[in-house]
Amino acid sequence: MAHDLATRAELVKLAQALGTTPDQVAFAAKLPHTTIRRVRERAVATLYDEHKAAFRRVAAITRLLPTALNVRITLRAFSPLLAARVAGEMAPDRAAELANRMPVEYLAEACVHLDPRRAAPLVHRIRQDRVLAVITELVTRGDFITLGRLLDAATESVVRDVSATVPTEALLQIGFYAESDAQLTRAVALLPPARLRGIVRDALKGEPELRSAGLALIGRLSDDKLRGQLAEYAAEADDETLTALLRTAVDDGAVAELLVAVTTMGEQAQRRVLKLKALTEPHMAGHLVRTVEKHNLWARMAPVVALMDNDLRHRFTESTDRQTDPH
């Protein structure tokens, strides 16, 4: 069964949180993605809290030892899993002091196991060059779920540096798994126009997975101006590329995201995408109208419908009539 993009991302994250595969949690697909997320957050909190007392005791002992000795003991005896759990119970300043002296590979592995509720205060206190090195390591490992989670803890300065160095494909994947729409929007807004254009180009020209990530990204932005900027970059692509995007949106259940993006474009870009031949294919108008109905997008879409040529507008209104006429 195909799931919408937000549900797909949440199922992957739930599976990872429970140490299993997305297939094993497919039963949750019947829930809204916001509920899957709540289930994950509550489950993760319960899992972390179950062993909290023991790790808190270990954290208390670290207060008695000098940092250098703590680092030596940790690297010698503690796996990154244990270290992350202890770090979650330490004062963030103290945990950061240790983290600043540990190898990047060790820290990257520990990040995977860090209590998400404790990540931000700790990450904010770790030296920026270390944070960037860990991010690079996680990108190399392809651990975009952990990176998506860490985005919430990233400072503006870290986001700027990451956006300048991390490949655009990786940025798209990180965005796909980002936890907060607001933080994702803030991060995208920090990207320079050339980088944004590169992200859109790579989303459009890459594998379907990247097109899906691009659609999810544009759908999650909470700033219409920014959405319009990305959408206009996309509208510069050729017919074949835009048709592939339309088909991916249909396959992914992301037509609403696509339509909203079109409504935020300037008129010239809107006229350009309305010329796509694929829009006149049988069933396409019906598909679009159903999406407009389902997501109550008529008010947003009205100016776009007004720009359609007679043939497309006719198809659109005909499909609307068919869906609103019970006979």
Partner: protein, 71 residues
């Protein structure tokens, strides 16, 4: 939802258990089983990691550290 399953899911999800009540019974059982399996996997991973840590400690400290870890 059966009483046992609901009780177990409430332990995991607290008041948010209401958000999953619309799921069919079979899905609720799958959710409960997935959560229980996650807890077992976590306990096993922490046990293995703790054993590894204890092996690195001087023998005289192992008993104390083991108690600290609640073993």
């Amino acid at each position: 939802m059966g009483g046992d399953v609901r009780e177990e899911l409430t332990y995991w999800l607290g008041a948010d258990v209401r958000a999953v009540e619309g799921l069919p019974d079979e899905a609720l059982k799958e959710l409960r089983d997935a959560l229980v399996a996650a807890r077992e996997r976590q306990a096993a991973a922490l046990r293995t990691a703790s054993d590894g840590a204890l092996r690195q400690m001087p023998p005289v400290l192992r008993g104390t550290v083991s108690r600290i870890l609640g073993r």
